[in-house]
Symmetry: C2
Subunit: 276 residues, 2 copies
């Protein structure tokens, strides 16, 4: 399936997940159905196609990861955490629905992600493996987020920042890249692909830092320049823009070479398109 | 196993779940390891024993439900939601760790609950059923919480309040009472026990409302008298104390009779002990 066609179907399925009847589900849909780039679902799609996974098995993890990712953005944007009033090109969830409903909407999307994944048509043995890896990955993200908050305003060693990135952003990327190995039951590859996904997460976060430092708000669709304002230690704040860019390029090159060796052509192409 | 012995082992296992290395995990343990009554884990234990479930299978759902329940208490107590500074006899999580870490700690405990449940030694087919019911139950709780917030300061019909209770408190109770049927693979009983658990949740919430209206803070171990102050419509605010007490007694009696018919002796005894 072409990525564009996948995205169309994906967004339709996303729309049908939550039947809006009350305020919290309205808040959930508000954030979920905004114009996200759906990078993680697409990465699951390409990783699964590269591993010849049955098309019917791709939707549930793809939907689950977008639900969880949206939840983490809502909580991140709260005034109590990153205080970002803008997300995906429009006011953040708490700006529209209030802090109480933004907290609850984030919770709801997290829980819904597990409900959706538990409804996967995969074989029970594969499904439990999927749920195990998903729960670990999402917990990693949470710990990474919390370390990010804990480090704010403090100076940190590069190694600690990279470890934080590998959790905060690498957690979900690991699940994406490993999902193909899990669903195709090539269990010996799970660990390898989890590690590569984690490096990919670091790369993606450094690129995000660069965007935050350089780009304008309109292009980013979210509040920018906040890392510096909040006193967040980042790879950019340690390396400077040029060295950070070099570092990111090298990380990506390393991961793409490894995926290439495994014949992950669609994944490699998709990642290259993100790097432009 | 006697309930006291179960509780001792349960608390030991709970202590070993999260290895405190950073601030958010400290906040998670702070709330998790306080002196909760562990009513939901005990209800799982009795429901499973009544259904002759293998003892090794009881721990994971029992731990998972306590992790999730604690998460929901932390988020409930936040200034943005119920604003309760006292919980389980000591300062609430956000009072000690700040609102940012309380939000993240709640998230972390929710995610950990799924991680723990996904590590259950149950047969994959049973485990996926367990995860399906757990994710539905926890999502119900979240919707119930959100309806509670949405209804605050408004007058509501009794039927709407009861529906909210059946989600907010009935969600987890349903999972508890159904867990025995799931783990003993008596699948035809799951739906019945889920419904009975939901009524049990209404009963428990009305008793909680009565406590909030009548008891003192020291005995309750949490902030009381808040329902009225916050303008929350409750069964007590509609019925008054005496009629609400009657209503609760009749609900419990009905559920106990049904459980009695199924030979759920330990469950009946445990619920009776809660009613004293």
């Amino acid at each position: 399936m072409r990525n564009e066609e996948f995205l169309q179907q994906f967004n339709k399925r996303l729309e049908s997940l939550i039947k809006t009847t009350n305020k919290v589900e309205q808040a959930m849909n508000y954030s979920l159905l905004s114009s996200g780039k759906r990078i993680r679902p697409l990465l699951i799609k390409t990783a699964c196609e590269d591993m010849m996974v049955d098309a019917d098995l791709i939707w549930h993890p793809a939907l689950a990861i977008e639900l969880f990712h949206t939840a983490s953005l809502i909580h991140d944007d709260l005034p109590q955490i990153d205080d970002s009033p803008l997300r995906r090109g429009r006011p953040s969830c708490h700006v529209v629905y209030g802090n109480d409903f933004a907290i609850l909407a984030g919770d709801g999307l997290m829980l819904k992600s597990f409900e959706v994944l538990s409804q996967s048509p995969a074989d029970p043995r594969v499904k439990t493996l999927l749920l195990t890896h998903f729960s670990r990955a999402t917990y990693e993200v949470l710990i990474g987020e919390a370390l990010d908050v804990e480090y704010t305003g403090k100076s940190q060693k590069l190694s600690e920042i990279l470890k934080m990135y590998s959790k905060k952003t690498g957690g979900l990327f690991s699940f994406c890249t490993a999902s193909g190995a899990i669903l195709s039951e090539r269990f010996q590859l799970i660990e390898k692909f989890t590690k590569l996904g984690s490096v990919l997460g670091i790369w993606f976060q450094v690129v995000d830092d660069l965007k935050d430092a350089l780009s304008d708000e309109k292009a980013a669709g979210k509040t920018v320049g906040r890392d510096k304002m909040l006193g967040k230690p980042t790879v950019v704040s340690i390396f400077g823009v040029h060295k950070a860019k070099d570092f990111a390029d090298k990380l990506l090159e390393g991961v793409l070479n490894r995926f290439d060796e495994y014949g992950m052509n669609k994944t490699v192409d998709f990642l290259k398109s993100l790097a432009v």
